[in-house]
Symmetry: T
Subunit: 146 residues, 12 copies
């Protein structure tokens, strides 16, 4: 089983950026923790971060050929990108949407997700653990469908 983990804009700053909102973990640290869990579950993992909507779409499209599912933290693009939604919808892979912070405790505009309706499910608010739970959720979802 091969899974793509996608990190949206500004997530490369994790650990340095507004730690009161996003915590002290770095993106490298999160990817490492994900890899450990993936090993446990015998999943092969690819992690990718970009600040560019277009590059994220390109990577999603490529996943159609080499992945069985996607864990995505679309970050700011959650609320503005119909194009990423359409890409996810087009590749027809199971998708799990994750967020570090609880988006329901922040600005009103962060409560709307363009991604959620095309995802299997959404996990929000658990810091880096959101990713780990998301990977586990996706793993279980795919296994159930086999």
């Amino acid at each position: 089983m091969h899974i793509l983990v996608l990190h949206g804009p500004n997530l490369n700053l994790l650990g340095t950026r507004e730690p009161d909102v996003y915590g002290f973990d770095t993106l490298a640290g999160i990817n490492e923790a994900l890899t450990l869990l993936a090993d446990d579950l015998s999943i092969s993992l690819t992690c990718f971060q970009s600040n560019s909507e277009g590059e994220l779409i390109d990577r999603i499209q490529a996943a159609a050929h080499d992945c069985d599912g996607i864990v995505i933290n679309p970050a700011a693009y959650t609320h503005t990108s119909v194009a990423i939604r359409d890409a996810l919808s087009a590749v027809a892979l199971p998708v799990v949407e994750v967020h570090l912070s609880n988006i329901h405790c922040r600005e009103e505009f962060r409560t709307r997700s363009f991604i959620a309706p095309v995802a299997v499910g959404q996990i929000t608010g658990f810091g880096p653990d959101s990713y780990l739970l998301g990977l586990r959720a996706l793993f279980n979802h795919i296994k159930k469908g086999l």
Copy 2:
């Protein structure tokens, strides 16, 4: 560590009710799976279901004395109950909100949660696995705070 698992209205019908939306698992089955995981994590677990908003509030209040955290699937009360929100907020325990179905794929009124802003986080869309992920998320959250 003692955790309360709360099931909101109509969840006692699980497995018989609209299986295309909620799946074939029964509530007893979900509680059993939760207990297995709880055992693994050395958590002591109490499960409670009610169709009554007042009874759910009573149980939440009681949790202040005997629990370290709450996993709640508020079901229909997610969208209408300020009183359950206030109860959760009052007992000041960490709360994880879970949903079986992806509430972002259903009627517009199901996208608003009164509970989410007072929860640590929300997990939605993974069927019974939402509960298991939620228990795990709460466990990690509490351990982190110790």
Copy 3:
């Protein structure tokens, strides 16, 4: 054929409560008239009133085992209860929604019904006659489906 007639909150006050809005008939009188009509149609009838959302849900769930259809006047819960809607939807029995007064002539918030979209149909504005028409409508609907 067995039909459940459900009366929502405050309907036990009928005949004493705001007669300019709801008329002078008592709930007992309405149940009596319904029973007469039920006898004519060879329907067996159970009538139940509660002020509690939870009890109404419990009764709806029980109907799955002993009824062929439900006539419900959800009264105030019409406009606020997603939980009753979900209960009706879960038991998958034909439902007819009735109202004594014309809800379209009253406060704006009374024009929205959470129940109507899961009912076969809605009858509103004819006083106690709304119930009798509702029973007849449900009877015809069930017979058509046989």
Copy 4:
């Protein structure tokens, strides 16, 4: 007692038009069933269909002189015609609004009725039976007022 039954735009197509929404009964069939019921109730009946808002208004105005009440299925004009509402309001006859389909299960714009606030009541969702129930409701309403 003389009753006018008004059928709004496109109802002349009944039985041929979108049977999954409106059923297989023709307008002639509905009028026939109404006449049978009217005979039972010793009501004299006039049925009229038009696709033209103006003609429907003309017929409503004429009813002031020769009818005791109106059963109307305003169809699409339900949601757009203030003029028919004003006509009904002007002739000051008791009006019962009926719909074949459950308008609360369809497009959002079909949930608003300009007619309902000037009607005695509304019956929606029972197919041709909506008309029969409507005639009965109007009959009872008029008798009560005598």
Copy 5:
């Protein structure tokens, strides 16, 4: 003169619950202070708290037989309960709505009250003193009407 004082959901937690919002007074303390004032005004007082919407409605209905007025802090049900509004409206007793905190300084959804339009008046923001002012206001209102 007999007055019913109704406390809505979660008010039993007063003094322990979010003291920065609701203060350190307990419900028992408030009831005591109310009783002292009632004695001064020669009012006989009944105090009742419930977390259940249905029980609150039952108690309001009972008040029609044994009370001259109601002081109610509907708490969370202020914003969601049409059923309590209808109960208050049905018993036709003078009602005074009170709130401990200033509901206009909190979440947007707390600014709408279903109760206020059927009350004589509303007092909000003065902590436990809101109850005492409310009792006084109701006393004066009833005396004026005698």
Copy 6:
């Protein structure tokens, strides 16, 4: 100078229809009063009423050839007819919109006029005098432009 006076739907019922809203004057009486004023101002007058949106449009279009201006009481079509607005806009004659009742004291939906933005001005609330003032206003407006 030739002026067309257009009366919208249901205005033929004037004098009989809801006199508390529209007064006791008949349409014939209003036309007579208008003719007297027109004689005073040396205006030639044509009066036309229809319940049909299409006929009103036909008459407006015809006015392009034989009239210098239009006084219109669009009645219910004020709030729903883009087609009449377009007709008035197309013939490019000066238009004065009049209403018998004060539309700002009635239902919310009556405060929006599709006609007003293509009219010179609007006169509302003076009963039949609205027409006379409207004719005078149009007369002055046309004279000013000569």
Copy 7:
């Protein structure tokens, strides 16, 4: 018969201010024309302009003692002043609201009038002639009531 003509803020600039919107007539010229018409109708007239909401209210209150009606062009206060509305409502004199320009062709916020619902009627769009028509309308309205 004594009439007060009230001019709201910035109307003292008339003739100099945005002539493409308001025309070239000065306020003095309009008052003169009004006086001529008042003489014809044997009305005694007082004209008053102020840029201050408070002064306009003071003048309206004074009118209760010495006037039979008010013609008011509330200008910008039309859209923002509940206080002027309340003053007009309090003195209980017949009020006619006039506007020079057609407020329905301008910014969206100019289409809402706080004044219109407490006026007999509204005249808008005819330049200075709006005042003359308004005086005439008020004169007729008062005479009808005598």
Copy 8:
């Protein structure tokens, strides 16, 4: 192949009406151009214009018997007629909606089309060429389905 071309209200004025918005072509000219193209495509064509919503509905209903598709410029009825939408939906013929002007550059209320959701597609903004493109689009659409 037989196609009905429907022109909505005021389109008979084309060429004379607001040429800056709609251009200088007459309806006759457009029909002529359509006929030329129809000849090229071996389509038999019927053109019909009416200012009456009812007549347009009648013509649409008739098309069920003698046409293979409809090109319609609903003009003002685009934004207000649920009845025409229902007629088009009922006859179940392929429909192409065309507009001369770009409705997205005009008043806000012109951006909503009741017709578009029941049409195959919509062409807007190309003047008379919208019709020719629409006929071509419908022709291709029907051929593809054969």
Copy 9:
């Protein structure tokens, strides 16, 4: 302890103005009753009424130097004056907002208060007694803070 009582626009008309809404008490009478209560509580009292938003702001600013708190009935300015809100907020004195009528039973626009969020609390609906309760509430609030 020195308290400022501020009366907003049109309150000088009390007793004469719309007695069905505001009662028969005059402003002088209310001030007298307030003075009696103030004497009881050993409060020194200044009462001030103005129809001018600016004068009310001036008086609020002056209160910073000579008062310990403000009881204000902002009347119509409740719903429109950000400037009075800012003045109250700037002087940083405890403020109690009072209303004679129940603003939740009147026009929709009267339910929004710009003042309430910067006040300690709000008392509405008890006629002149609202002032007396307000003074008492403010007195208790200040004493509690000493």
Copy 10:
């Protein structure tokens, strides 16, 4: 005449992506068909696809120097990109907006186009034929302007 055909995000997946929504044609197939038509019309054609908003803007800006017009299917960016709108507006070339599917039959957010108001016109719903019609429309539009 040189025309730029721009394909927005995810259109490179055409033929493989959700064929029930977008059909089985590939982008290469569409470009080929467009080239055939271009040859017929003696148009020179450049086709360009990108998933990146920025690259699409770059290409639009470049078109100012080498193209006479643009056919654009902005896909998901239709609903979110003010930047592409501004680019199109800046280069001041005639633009035709095309869509494969009927955007009025899909999610609400797809009905708003930021592009349409700066385009000559919009063609939606005809599958690949939308492009061919769009090219033809643009060709005619440019020729008319020569």
Copy 11:
């Protein structure tokens, strides 16, 4: 060059009022700093503050005769005064709107400015420096126009 600097309501309290929002500078200090800059730029300056909407309008009107431009901080009237907007629009002088605080970080209602659309530009968020930047901006704007 002569410039008017207008300070709206409550700005006379600057330096004493909510220093966390508005800083510690007094109005006198700001006027002094403005005068220094004006001297540098050879501008003659008049500063005026009022809490009264009417007085501010009077001063704006007077500026038509003696000023070349206006720097205005409308404070609370920014969000509520159409009358000040109309005054600024009427005198047809260049206007620069300034704010001490960043109005986009505060209450929702502070984000709407009635003034901005009639100003040359708006400067917000730089404390007293907003005024100095505003004066400089106005100076440059006027010079450019000479």
Copy 12:
């Protein structure tokens, strides 16, 4: 002191693009003028323009290491980019938002800025001078904080 000046999408076209909206100055000219002012203030300046949201984010992130503040004209991304907002928020540098045109005089959607709430302040409407004022404002702001 080192400042980054960021120009958003399409600003590279300045001077050629819609000069009636944006003026005749080129971006090179603006950068030159900024450099001159920067020299005066002893600021070192970097200017960067991109049409790509991702590249703008990359540059903002880089600024965390080499800049003391950012002047940004986000152009079209002002209204749609949460990602740029998050980037600015993450780097925690003082930001000044500038616009050439007065965004409050244009389309409704241009009045909302995602950037303003995370900026120190906003300057809009002064053409190229907005940049110069913005640089000066940022310079003063940073100096004040030293």
